[in-house]
Symmetry: D3
Subunit: 298 residues, 6 copies
């Protein structure tokens, strides 16, 4: 359940507004009877069982709920939160293939350490589950993994397309650029920022974390650590988007563009999924600050 | 010759400042003797023959010129202006291969008309020669062709990478996006904006030109013309960069990112070419508004 | 009807929210009974007949609607949409007088072709009906005509006020500057942007259309067409307001200021019309991003 | 003399750079001999007599000066500073006619007091001489008067063009809007800001001055004083242009547009005056942040 | 009562939404019965007596109101509006101590005139009552006094901390910087801007008022008046925040920072007061455009 | 020597432009004779011995240099670079007193570790020498120490002035906020950014360094480390000034204001030091983007 509010109806009677969410999407619900009693049984972000009947209004389902109770036993989060359509396992395999493509010995050691196969570390396990964002793009379980793999695959192509690119550095930066999101967002229940996420942000958290990992690898060259941290810190491209430094290496410049493009492309594709029946324009997209043209269906 | 100025020395004697340019680069010159007489022999942007001796100061050559005269007969511009290192013929062949990859019958007809092989139209001939910009990026003969081919090749990759992309539309937009530059810049001599270029700009000029070409193809669908024009007009991405509309289709969004990235990547690579002896940071880059890190040479 | 929404009341019963609009203004309505049945009878933007009773709350009328049915036969749109208070015929005559004042032979031919009297072309007919905007200013039938005539009349004055102004060019630009709005907005029913309007915009559409008209006039000088297109493209004054080029001719500079001032003056006067009983300050005006002072009534 | 600098030539010998200015324009000069001795004779902004010979370089005159001495006796400033081409007397008469057109008794009393005919007050005398700006527009003796009359004449036209305009208030605001410039700029010698001009600015100074004048007129209505002060304070239109409040009355909105347009039109016309021989584009105009198109001469 | 709205419930029955406010805070109320009758008895901003019963929802009290009637006799505003927790009298004494610390004879005379003790002038009386703002910071009775004293105390510290500060000038500017708010806001009932406040603003009003006060003191030096007015006009720091001039004296620079910091610190402390039960983050703060971290309670 | 350039005089003869700098200031020099030979003897940023004669032009000294040679033996940098007028030792003592005032046991341990007395660590030694900036403010040896002490002293005052401030946290943040500058700037010779300084910046470097220090203190609480890092990262106040997060705690908000004010106050005082003879306005100040008013000398 991603939202819960007890309200007072105009006749002075309390009722509950709920948003229920599972992996297929989200639905608005209202509990009209015994609201006070039922409201005490659960909290926001709990996994719940619900009985009720559906009504359709204006092309959207609304649920009139009769009863709600907390789910017993261990429920699998992935059953109740939206999950990447591409599958966590296939994406993980693709990521492993990208890691294996890194020839530079130092970077290869670092990446194998961060992304061990099987994913036995806490970070690796969380990395596979984490969403790519709170609401803007890749906002589903496995979204961070999907985004990372997509960015890295495009970067691999560009390393061959342009001259003078340090392919291993670009690919490593692509794979690590959002690692800080593992700690910036909590996703047990709804996606929320952690205190550290709000006060420090995933750019800083990622760079600090990479600094600490590099320090644990004996003989890891200082300049490679510096270039990786630069790529992480600068990947938002401009100061006003939260990067404390703008990209100043060729690899950082390319990563910024690819990262930005992939976020926007994903958001565009998601908006096309949400298209209203018969519409050729999406609803207003806050991320783009515009309506998007989905085009005529054939 | 890309610059000419007659100045008065402190001792009250006139001298001439020249910038000479050929395909390998540019050099500053000074004519100390007979400045008034020599100055009358030629104009800025003329092709000239020069005799003189070179002095090296601070890692840069300066030429002390004894005599200057206008070149006689027909000189080949490409001998005197910087030219793409990738070669116009190989790039043209790559462009033809990209055009051949377009399956949509309407778009294919349009593209073959715009880029006939051999390049028998005035537009096609100018398109092969034109620079990609006045000074910011791809500012050499064949630069527009090089930029177009690079953008289109990346777009072709992305059409396979992302779902739901209209590959033919994206590729067509990529190939046509800067066609207006054929008329925005003159490049007989130094690169300069035309009156039309300054008053209307290459976005408008390109879209209007595509509109006219589509109108000449019987039965060309209005919505495809509209989508192409949208891609051309919106490829600068934001109003403040001169696009009267921001990208609103998936193809326009992708094209904008690729186009921007390719301009920046080319400018970065050019800045690395100009690196001073022993430097690891470039001079200040106006396009990036920052210094760029070229990295340690191995 | 400019808005229709079926909602669920707190007691779980559906009701309908409507906005009805005729030439005198707009009123909010609610259908409490038989909402499902009634909702099926009509769509948004239909012309409808309504029975109900009015209630006044907080100085605004609200309608409690008993029944709604679609209007039969051909209804005249102008009866149901707000229309310019100045009258379409008087404005058209004023426009014709302005056109007759153009001495330059080329421009005169162009303008007579665009605005034939009587208005026998589709463009001329639509130009007389079109609103000047969706909601910001001149948002009523005939608004485009009213705005155009007002701008042109001020420009005629300025052509006499300042030296060195090309009076015919300024007047022609004023008369043509918003011609693209004929295709940018649809006004059958509520005012809405067309697909082309959203993807290309009225600046581009107007310039392309003028380009095509000029091409159809034998011997129309290229530089005059270029200057006209520049005025149309630059009349928003700044890139961030959607002009791909800023004004660079004296006539374009003047047109921009007059056009902007006339839009704002109209919006100010409309806001004064909407003043609440007894108020001396208007409601918050989004176009101005401020409250406006209407002043004390005598 | 508007500029004076003693410099050291490369051979270690001092020389003087001067800018001489009279009503027809400005010329660069150099004193090569006896620089130290000559430099002591005069200060920047002095009126001087000069002997020397002219050299022409690149279409501009440069003066090689042999001797300089301070002018003796009383020289008339207007002989040495650029002056409005329209003549101070004709402009003053036009202003008096505008003042006479004000019907409102309170405003009429105020305006006759501020602009007495003949101009017997210090303020009126300075108002007739003051430049309209330091360098951007109307930067010549009488420029403030010329600008004021032009703005007021356009406002008088607009008062008839639009409904609901308080014509007397608009005209009064137009005539008073830049009155603070009388104290913001000094123009004895080169145009310079006064301390008060830099610390308080002409918007504040004008409004405070009008407040004081109104206070001296018995029974002057407080709300009319408030509206006048609002017009003066808001005439730059936006906070970032130095207006502490944006225009919120119809008259203030119109005044802002007219005032801005007139400044730009004057700057455009001045730039056309300065056009280089044969050029159709002006030099880069800092006020417009662009090159302007002067067009082909017939 | 700071807000009153008669609304129509979904069942078509009118009810009243009220916001009641006293010095301890604000509470939302609803009148469900006899709404039409009760609504006629009072207006927004009246002082009222209310009977009803409280319900708690989501950690906030809501009042179900049975009856409302206007308060009879003279009620003390300070009983019903929020008041500074620091007490008006102690703050006034602190202000008097600060005034007494001014050694400069001119400034001392001015300040004693503006803030006489006891506060016998209308301005002094209003200054003690006025809020520091409408809603952003210090929005309670005595808020202006509290803010002024806080700013002045910090400035007194800084005058000792930094070299070359004119302590008397800095302190005088601090004490006078917001004097214009006395007339910008009305606070009889809810806090609202006056017409003059909206059209001229407290920066202008304060400077004009100080100018007039200085003019009434014989022999008050013009340059001290100018520096005081500069501090008042520039204390918002940037043009876009409504200062027509940016700070250009050391005292004005310091005052701007202190004034800004004190507003933000007060707003932060107020937001911490409003913290929801158990929360460690505040609600979204419009003034800061972010959520604030209140930290863990021990 | 802070600058060295070999140029070609108009007569074709090479000469050298030098800027010599010692603790008292900077002077421009020219070497006219034997330039080629002399130029080979030294590099930019070397400490040199110079013989020559001084000439005064326009209130500034210029040096005509006869000979230059590199200084032999170990020269003390502090003799040749400008140094804080307040003395490094007194400032260090003041800092130690501030550190001793921290009561919180964790923070006290951290601060004593970072600033050991005597300064036996490399960091502490560099911290005492480092400039506060490259050119904007506190750009002299000991400037970082002076700035830190000044900011911390003001913060200590504010901790007593405002309620609810965590005094120890605020003081610790003040003392550590610029610790990253120890590695961002090199000051052996002229002040220059290091590679790490340009690619990562002192905000990131300081936070990472504090993170590492905290990690070395057993049992250092994670939330205190987080709050310290937040203060360091956010002290520039806005994203566009390079802070990846804006201040979200009361202590971070206060620190940001004090830090900004102290930088500006120092820059203002430095500009007053550089005042030209007789001037009351400073030269244009790039940091303020304005001229500053130094006021009349008594």
């Amino acid at each position: 359940m991603s939202n819960k509010a007890v309200l007072l109806s105009n006749s002075g009677k309390p009722y509950i507004n709920l948003s229920l969410r599972d992996r297929t999407g989200q639905v608005e619900c209202r509990v009209w009877d015994r609201a006070d009693e039922i409201a005490k049984r659960f909290e926001r972000d709990d996994i719940v069982e619900v009985s009720g009947s559906a009504i359709q209004y204006q092309g959207r389902i609304q649920l009139k709920v009769h009863d709600v109770r907390r789910a017993e036993g261990e429920a699998d989060l992935a059953d109740f939160l939206p999950v990447t359509r591409k599958g966590i396992e296939p994406l993980w395999e693709e990521l492993q293939a990208l890691v294996k493509g890194i020839a530079d010995r130092d970077l290869s050691r670092l990446l194998r350490r961060v992304f061990p196969d099987p994913p036995k570390t806490e970070t690796a396990r969380r990395f596979r589950q984490a969403p790519g964002g709170k609401s803007m793009h890749h906002d589903y379980i496995g979204g961070l993994l999907e985004h990372t793999v997509s960015v890295a695959a495009i970067c691999r192509f560009l390393a061959g397309h342009y001259e003078k690119v340090d392919a291993d550095m670009l690919l490593s930066g692509a794979l690590l650029h959002d690692i800080g999101k593992v700690g910036e967002l909590s996703y047990e229940g709804a996606f929320e920022y952690t205190d550290e996420g709000r006060l420090l942000g995933h750019l800083y958290m990622g760079a600090e974390w990479v600094a600490a990992e590099c320090a644990r690898i004996e003989g890891f060259p200082a300049d490679k650590a510096m270039l990786l941290k630069h790529m992480i810190l600068s990947h938002h491209g401009e100061l006003e988007y939260g990067s404390p430094k703008r990209p100043k290496t060729l690899e950082a410049v390319l990563l910024h563009f690819v990262e930005n493009m992939d976020s926007k492309a994903n958001a565009f594709l998601e908006a096309m999924e949400d298209l209203r029946e018969g519409a050729i324009w999406t609803d207003y997209q806050r991320m783009f600050e515009r309506y998007l043209f989905a085009g005529k269906k054939k």
